[in-house]
């Protein structure tokens, strides 16, 4: 017959120990639930068989998903947002990547001023960014249009692209480029065969970030769009009379598409490391 030497801690003692050790984890789980509640709500109500006003649950239907353009103006708004997003992302990514390379790989005069100029738009409230651009357009008698939106989006996205790409460049071992030159690659070839492939994930991430910032932007767009409709504008304006369920469909769809892109990106980069 074996004797138990150490006394077993009581159930309540063990429970409280488990609780205090996992307190942070429990808290984090609650925080995540909190983050996702409105997303889940939006997704759920995208299936609502409601008319124009998607406020009260009236029944489950796939119709909204089958016909996302059913509500008037939804698809026009989404179409504009997508076009603006693609154009702004392309421009901002190109301009921002060039700046990131200059900052990350070269010595030049005016580094402090450049850093400041990149940082300031991120530190300025959107109201001020939007209002100042509008003030300039008004003073120059330029009417707000599709292109003023693009201009404003490129403007505030550049900084985010610079930050993202620059971080990626900084993590690149400079000895890899030296090794390439040691192995007979001149400056152009080194960039093409070594630097660019290794920085590409950062550039891709920056582009994704820029696109999501552009697609979701409301305040700056509101100030500089005149009568052109974008998806966030559409939602805001519809809030008073009721947002059609199709908007929920678009919102949820964007969520899933972005999620899939990010997950695929993670899986691909992990596969590349293992293969």
């Amino acid at each position: 017959m074996t004797t138990i030497n150490a006394p077993m801690p009581s159930l309540s003692h063990r429970a409280s120990r488990w609780f205090s050790r996992n307190l942070v984890r429990i808290y984090a789980a609650l925080a995540f639930i909190y983050l996702f509640i409105p997303v889940a709500y939006t997704f759920a109500f995208s299936f609502n068989d409601a008319g124009k006003s998607n406020l009260v649950w009236q029944g489950f239907t796939f119709d909204n998903w089958k016909n996302p353009c059913g509500a008037p103006q939804v698809c026009e708004a989404v179409g504009n947002s997508l076009k603006i997003g693609v154009i702004s992302t392309s421009l901002a990514t190109a301009l921002g990547t060039m700046i990131a390379f200059a900052l990350g790989r070269y010595k030049f005069k005016g580094r402090t001023s450049t850093n400041l100029l990149i940082f300031l738009p991120m530190a300025t409230p959107e109201v001020v960014l939007g209002a100042s651009l509008l003030a300039m357009f008004l003073n120059l008698r330029i009417n707000p249009s599709f292109w003023t939106i693009v201009i404003s989006h490129v403007m505030f996205c550049i900084s985010f692209v610079v930050v993202t790409v620059k971080a990626r460049i900084a993590s690149l071992d400079p000895r890899l480029e030296q090794a390439a030159m040691d192995l007979y690659a001149n400056e152009k070839e080194t960039f093409r065969y070594v630097t660019l492939p290794l920085v590409m994930p950062g550039i891709a991430g920056a582009a994704l970030l820029a696109f999501s910032l552009s697609f979701d932007d409301f305040i700056i767009t509101n100030f500089n769009s005149g009568t052109v409709s974008t998806f966030p504008k559409f939602v805001y304006v519809s809030a008073a009379r009721g947002i059609p369920a199709q908007a929920n469909v678009i919102g949820s769809a964007m969520f899933f598409i972005a999620l899939i892109i990010v997950i695929v990106g993670q899986v691909v980069s992990r596969k590349r490391k293992k293969s």
Partner: protein
Amino acid sequence: MAFLHAVSSSTSATKNVLKGKSLTPYLLLAPGLIWLVTFFIIPIFSLASTSTMVRPDGAQVGVYEQKLRFANYVDAFIANQDQYVRSFFYAALATILALAISYPLAYAIAFKSGKYRNILLVMVIAPFFTSFLLRTIAWTQILADSGPVVSTIQALPFVDELFRINNTSTAVVIGLAYNFLPFMTLPLYASLERIDPRTLEAAGDLYANGLTTFRKVTLPLSMPGVVAGTLLTFIPAAGDYVNAALLGNPNTKMIGNVIESRFFAVVDYPTAAALSFTLMATILILVTLYIRKSGTDELV
């Protein structure tokens, strides 16, 4: 902001030798910087110029003359000082709330997530793939006066029958905090992730209990993240007007609401410009203090 990117990828130990004596950097910088100067710096000057304009008597709506009337600033401030103060107050509350929610979250991801770390990071950002307007409006519907949440709270014994969440200043603050959570969480995570867990073990070895370790070791080491997150939350929150419009009432108007209405509803560009400029100037002062502390290379 740079923290989150710069830290989540591994840093190399070698010094980065920069290439000098070449025109290339200037050519690379030119297009982007010209864009920023044209569409960021010059508009600020436009804003400043508009702020001192005056509508001549009898002129049409929207027509202004430059008269360098600096009294515009005084007038604008006096007329809207409530909203002005309220904006900074709400922003501060929202920042504190965001910090309270985000810090444990960032801590959990940094230290207690094991192999799920990347997934969790994605999950912090993921909600923001859905339009923030849709999410804010979702909150108004979830927290509707006749909805389940408010009904449940009203049923509690110590709660007033007329308790509501929507269209109150509380809702605005909660909305602001919610909107900017990733901007607080990610820099916090980045600076927490940098802490070598063995430092915390060493503290324990030297007789510090959990709370003391946190106070004396973890918290000070995470301060750069706290500062970054605080600025990245406070600044946009102070200028926001969407949350106040959707979740508030006429008594919760923030300075952003006033600026928006002065531009579009009541066409009064000089006042709107003056208010914008004042807002920006105040925030710039805060940012300058921060820059002095950490240098510009840390920011970008």
